[in-house]
């Protein structure tokens, strides 16, 4: 009981910090910034002190949340100021959503989880409207109807199952570890009902069509929240579901595997065919969600290993997608268009964002020493481990993996073309300079893509970590060296150089 009260006091403090930070964020910019940073980083204090009751499932999500929330909050400040001249009411909405997300990942019983889930869903609806207002109404409606309905069904079913077995009061207030020790078993139909809400939130086929519209039409900050953090709520939900109830293994495995495989193939295929930057990234997110779902489907046969990989995937995808979606926000501000073929000159007018977006896409392709490489390596390792359990699983994973890596390269090149694709020297319209907070937040995320892999490597918590550590170390040297060489020894042509023939 004391621990619950301590947690509520901490939540209250979080809310207070955000409230105070948003009293006059336009006049006292620095104070507001500092308070917000403290709020998002403060989650580590109660964790280290052991005031909040959490388990190993939550730590990686909280880690991601702390980092991404800080970046998004800093970025949105600049974004809103450039768009509207002041940040006052809207920044509070974004900040409180982020705080609710942190609260969601620290919730430790069902009733908190459900309440926060539903609230965040509705706040997502508001976040879609934040920039264009009523113009985005239909998209927001579509999102809310699909996500909220299926999500409600799953969550309510979950509540109902637990309270049937433990009684309503004990069931809803019991901590997750207590629920896990009960081992409540669930029949196939209910398993289906339980999963459908989470897979819809992840945009899995056949209920995927809300995702691309929402992601591409919502403002970039919102999309970063959606893709980086809110989708992770669904992953967390599935994992939590798996560990608190004993689900029907067949339905769990085959539903997630088939949905995941289809979505992976569809998402990556479509993403490389887009000409809109945000649509491209939206489909890519969809493909990644498919891959994550596919991983989770192997949870009953491989256990712990899959869990570790899912964590790393969550971290990787959360950071990378937050970063690149924030970057699309920069593109929109700089160029006022999202069409890839009307851009191509951005590297000349926005060097700082170019640096961070290159790191982001190196990670998406899977080049060492980024987090993406670690992920790709682990996938291959798992695919071989799966061979002992049946070729079908292994084959499915490999197919997904092949689609993912090939088309990742395609769309990464396409996206980087926004920066380097054309020989135009300057922008087609007067350039607004981005705010410092935006640049800092993008760079912070990009660098964390390189730094974060150290954490699991130091603890040697992943399979084959020694090999990975060697590769990681050597490629880090290569990266640094090539950066230095780029700075010093790069030849810059004075004129546009076409066709290889100098006139």
């Amino acid at each position: 009981m004391e621990i619950v009260i301590a947690k509520y006091i901490y939540w209250l403090i979080l809310f207070m910090l955000i409230l105070v930070a948003n009293i006059s964020p336009d006049r006292r910019r620095r104070l507001s910034r500092v308070l917000r940073s403290i709020a998002y980083l403060s989650i580590w204090i109660p964790l280290i002190l052991g005031v909040i009751e959490i388990d190993y499932l939550q730590i990686f999500f909280i880690m991601l949340c702390s980092l991404a929330c800080l970046a998004i909050s800093l970025y949105s400040e600049g974004y809103l100021r450039i768009l509207f001249g002041r940040i006052a009411p809207l920044q509070f909405i974004i900040d409180s959503t982020l705080v609710l997300l942190i609260m969601f990942f620290t919730a430790y019983n069902l009733i908190e989880l459900v309440v926060l889930w539903v609230s965040i869903e509705i706040l997502g609806f508001i976040l879609i409207l934040i920039e264009r207002g009523i113009g985005n109404w239909n998209i927001a409606t579509k999102y809310l109807i699909l996500c909220a309905t299926t999500g409600d069904i799953s969550l309510f079913t979950w509540l109902a199952i637990v309270s049937l077995n433990l009684g309503i009061e004990k069931g809803l207030l019991a901590g997750f570890n207590e629920l896990a020790s009960m081992g409540i078993s669930v029949n196939p139909f209910i398993t289906f009902l339980l999963l459908i809400g989470f897979t819809t939130k992840l945009g899995q086929i056949p209920l995927h069509f809300w995702l691309v519209d929402t992601y591409s039409e919502a403002p970039s900050v919102t999309t970063a929240i959606f893709s980086g953090l809110m989708s992770k709520m669904a992953i967390y939900g599935i994992l939590r579901l798996y560990y608190t109830l004993s689900l029907d293994t067949n339905v769990f495995m085959y539903l997630l595997l088939i949905q995941g495989l289809l979505t992976t193939i569809y998402g990556f295929l479509m993403s490389s065919a887009q000409t809109d930057v945000k649509k491209l990234l939206a489909y890519s997110s969809m493909g990644h969600y498919g891959a994550m779902t596919m991983f989770i489907s192997f949870l009953p046969i491989l256990g712990e290993v899959i869990l570790i990989i899912t964590y790393i995937y969550v971290l990787y995808h959360g950071i990378v997608k937050t970063q690149v979606f924030l970057n699309t926000g920069s593109i929109e501000l700089l160029a006022n268009t999202r069409e890839i073929y009307r851009l191509g000159y951005l590297s000349r007018i926005a060097k700082e964002t170019y640096f961070s977006v290159v790191l982001g896409f190196l990670s998406l392709i899977g080049i060492p020493p980024t987090l993406g490489f670690l992920m790709k390596f682990l996938v291959v390792a798992i695919a071989f481990q799966l061979l002992t359990y049946g070729t079908f699983y292994s084959l499915a994973l490999l197919v997904g993996m092949v689609f993912s890596s090939i088309f990742s390269i395609v769309y990464a090149i396409k996206y980087l073309g926004v920066y380097t694709g054309s020989y135009a020297k300057e922008a087609y319209r007067p350039v607004i300079s981005l705010e410092d907070t935006q640049l800092i937040s993008e760079e912070m995320l990009a660098l964390s893509l390189i730094i974060v892999p150290i954490i699991p490597l130091i603890k040697l918590a992943i399979p084959y970590s020694l090999v990975v550590a060697i590769v990681y170390g050597s490629s880090l040297i290569v990266l640094v060296l090539s950066l230095i060489m780029y700075r010093s020894a790069f030849i810059r042509e004075a004129d546009v150089w076409l066709g290889g023939i100098e006139a």
Binding site: Y8, S119, L123, T149, L159, E169
Partner: protein, 504 residues
Amino acid sequence: MLAELTHYNSIYFLLLSYIIGVLIILFSNRVSKEKTVISIKILSYILLWAISLVLFMNSYIDKISLVFGSISFFIVIPVSIYTIRYTTIGKYPRNLSFTIDLFSILLITAFISPNILFFAISWTLAEFIGFYLVSLGEEHSIEGSTRASKRFLLMSAATFELTLFTMIYVSVFMLVSTLATQLNILDVLLKPYWELGAAETPLYLAPLLLVGFIAKAAQVPLHFWLPDAHSVAPAPASALLSGVMTAMGIYGILRVSMIASIGYDVIAYTLMFIGLISIIYGGLQSYVQRDGKRLLAYSTIAGNGFSIAILGYYLLHGGTEVFTALILSVAAHAGYKATLFLDIGLAEQVTGLRFIHRLRGLVKILPYSVLAGYLALFSIMGIPPTAGFISKLLAVFSAITGFPSIACVLLILSIVSAIVTSILIGLRYIRIYYGEPVLLYSNPRTDHIRIMEYCTLVLSSSNLIFPLIILLYLEPMIYMILYVVSIPPLLVLIYSLYVMAKRT
């Protein structure tokens, strides 16, 4: 002997004070000073509620009556105060306020009457007052026809009478045949419901017993009278008709299940099926309406469909959770529908419009009423910790309990369609708060309507208070946690919707 005497004295004393309270309320409308009228009304309605509480404590009435009565009291008080200004601003006949009071008292009396006689009398009178209110609204409206009121009288009142007399017939028949004695009919009618006992009733009487209540709750084959009647009536009358009067459908079927034992399997499945169809039909119709009041009227069909589906499930399985879900769904519907009718009525008076494709930017004209509207819409959409959320939660809980069965599947289908349609309706309605204000009148008189806005706000608080009271009674701990956790997100939500509306 003495005990019996005091027993009778106390009931007569209570009845007398009830009648005095009623008279005070009715004659308070003659007082010219508005503040006096408001305080008299509040005090005497609270007195009436206290009397009903005392009646319950001395077990003159049972729990169902008390719950339905209390819900009605909470809704009736703000509506009654709202009517005072509504009458003067909308230039309605002077007696509108009086009629609304009379109507609400009759409705409440019907709910808290323990026997068929009082129920029949007060209800029949209420039907005619309802007819008068609908026709009053029609005469006041632009159309000026009396089609809606005639339909209302025909469908709602006539079928209701049919059912009422079947009820009386069944109970009298039962008592006479089982006791095998000569009984005075009045004696039977004066017996409380729970003393009548369930009479063996042939199945062919079931349609007769149910038709009135199904028509009252406006379920699908007998729904067509409702959209007309509720959209032409004056706003406070619509609020009462929709929030309180249609709840009689559910109340009545609960009572029928007490006094007649029929094959409830058939009836339960029929009710659930009808409920499901009504949710889908009402929800879809409501989504395509342009007239705000018609939208709300159709969504009444859907909302009652949800309650009827749960009721069918309750008749089949029973259980406290199902019953709580049922009561909460009725309470939630009463709360949010009355709020929204008052809200749209206010919008109509200020802007001269009630077409939701034209009506925009209300947040700049009616800030408090919009706040109330948000709370009501949260309840429709099922956001914690409102009544709508908890009723849906408990409904899923009850559905899972009965797994696997046809009833469970039907209930789950109803819940899914209720969630989808209610979100659709909510999102369509909420648009009237956004955008630039549209005004037909050149200078809206916003200063005189503040008190009406407060009434709407008080009414909308029912969405938080009803579940609080009902669940504090059942599960105190869980509800405390739920409340603590969900109040901050709720405030954030309301704030951000408010900000978004003001910006656009």
